[in-house]
C-alpha cells in the first residue's frame, strides 16, 4: 500500500476560497471599528487614550466592576496576564523541599534548564547568587532561592524568592484572581509594563492545551514584568516592591 503521508501530501482539498484578508485588515487598522468587532474592543482605544494621561505609576482600587476591571488591566499592557476580581478559591500550597509542590515543572540542573529554555536569564541582583533549585516547566523555567541576607522565607512558597521566566504570548496564559485583601499597582520597569501585586492572591497557569486555567494556588507579593524582548518575568516573595523591581532589573 502507498505511503500514507505521501498520499496525503499529494491530496488536493477543495478549500473554501480565501477571502481578501489583507484588504479587510488594512481597512480595520485604518478606519473606525466596524460592527463586526466585539464591543469590548470597540471602546478600548477611548480608554487607552484616557489612561495615557495618567502618571506612570498608580494604584488601582478594587472599586471597578469585574468586567470593566479585567478589560482595564488588559489595556495596561500585559497581554500574557489576565486579572479577575474575585476571592481566590485556591488552597495555600504545602511546599516541601525548595519549590517542590508548587507545580513548577521538573527539577533540573541549571545547565539542563539552559538547554530546555534558551530564553533563560539569571538575575544578578547583589546577594542573590545562584538559585538553590531550578525547575523546567512547559514553556517556563523557575529559579528558587532559599533564605539569604535580605530575603526571608515566604509562607506561600516556602522559599525566599521565586523567579519564573516565560516567553510572553499575545493571549493571556496566567490568571490572577484578586480578592479584597490584594492590591495592584502598575509600574514601569526599564520602560516595560509591569504589575506589582501586594498581598495573597490566586494564581493559575493556562494548561498546555490552551483551553483552561488550572493548578491554581495562593501566591504572595508578586512582580510581573513583560519585557520588550518578549520575556515575561514573574518574581514572587515576601519582599517589598523596590526589592522585586531591583531583582527584575538585574535580569540581563
Amino acid at each position: 500500500m502507498a505511503d500514507l503521508p505521501a498520499e496525503l501530501r499529494s491530496l488536493r482539498a477543495d478549500w473554501p476560497e480565501t477571502p481578501d484578508l489583507a484588504g479587510a485588515v488594512a481597512a480595520r487598522l485604518e478606519g473606525p471599528a466596524p460592527a463586526r468587532r466585539k464591543p469590548a474592543l470597540a471602546w478600548r482605544p477611548v480608554l487607552a487614550y484616557g489612561l495615557a494621561a495618567v502618571a506612570a505609576a498608580f494604584a488601582l482600587t478594587m472599586a471597578v466592576s469585574p468586567d470593566a476591571r479585567s478589560a482595564v488591566l488588559e489595556l495596561l499592557g500585559l497581554r500574557s496576564v489576565r486579572v479577575e476580581r474575585r476571592e481566590p478559591s485556591a488552597p495555600a500550597p504545602r511546599p516541601g523541599t525548595l519549590g517542590s509542590g508548587l507545580g513548577l515543572g521538573t527539577p533540573v540542573t541549571l545547565e539542563e534548564a539552559r538547554r530546555r529554555a534558551p530564553f533563560l536569564r539569571l538575575p544578578t541582583a547583589r546577594g542573590l547568587g545562584r538559585p538553590d533549585a531550578v525547575y523546567a516547566g512547559d514553556r517556563s523555567v523557575a529559579l528558587v532561592y532559599g533564605e539569604r541576607a535580605g530575603y526571608t522565607r515566604a509562607a506561600t512558597t516556602g522559599a525566599a524568592l521565586l523567579v519564573q521566566e516565560f516567553p510572553a504570548r499575545v493571549e493571556p496564559f496566567i490568571e490572577k484572581s484578586l480578592g479584597a485583601a490584594a492590591r495592584l499597582e502598575r509600574l514601569e520597569v526599564d520602560g516595560a509594563p509591569a504589575f506589582f501585586l501586594a498581598g495573597a492572591h490566586g494564581f493559575a497557569y493556562e494548561s498546555e492545551r490552551g483551553a483552561d486555567f488550572e493548578d491554581q494556588r495562593l501566591a504572595g507579593n508578586t512582580l510581573l514584568v513583560e519585557r520588550r524582548d518578549g520575556l515575561l518575568l514573574r518574581i514572587e516573595g515576601d519582599i517589598a516592591r523596590e526589592r522585586a523591581v531591583a531583582v527584575a532589573r538585574s535580569v540581563p
Binding site: 488536493r12 477571502p19 484578508l21 488594512a26 493571549e171 490552551g210
Partner: protein, 188 residues
Amino acid sequence: MVVGRPLQEHELVERARAGDAGAYAALVRGHEEIAFRTAYLITGDAADAEDAAQEGFVRAHRALGRFRTGEPLRPWLLTIVANEARNRRRAAGRRRALALRAAGEEHPSGEAAPSPEAALLAGERRAALMVALGRLREDDRLVIACRYLLDLSEAETAAALGVRPGTVKSRLSRSLERMRAELGDPDG
C-alpha cells in the same frame, strides 16, 4: 522556496512596526491563505474562519512590537489566528464535521495522463482518504490536516494546535495509525 524571503519578511516587519500600513498589508497577503485554511480546519466553518483570521491579523498588528526579530513570522501568526479560531469554535459550541472533499487531479504538464481505469482508482482512493480523515477524532484529524494537507512544519503545527513540537511528533504517528485502521490499510 524563495531565496532571501526571510530577509524580505524581516524588512516588512520592521516597516510595519514603524507604522507602514502597506508593509503590514503585504505581510497579511503573504500569509492569509495558510492562516485562513488553518482557521477553517479548526472552526469547520468558512465565515468563522474568516472572522478568526481577520481578528488574528488585527491582534498580531497590535502585538508586532513584541514579535522577536529574527524569528519566523508564520508560526507566530498561526498561534494567534488558531487561538482566535478555537475561541470561535468554543463559542459555536458544536462540533462540525470536516467538509473538505478531494479536488480533481491535475497532472503536471508533460506527463502522460493515466488510463481511465487508473484515474478512477486514484479518484476513489482520494475520496476514501478524505472520508477516513473526516471520521477521525478531532485531535487526530487536525494534526494530520495541518501537517500534510497544509504542509505545515512540525513547529508550525505545534503553534497552530497550541502544543509542544514533541507532542506533534507523537500525536502524528498515533493519528496516522488510526487513519490506516480507518482505511483498512496494513500497518506502516
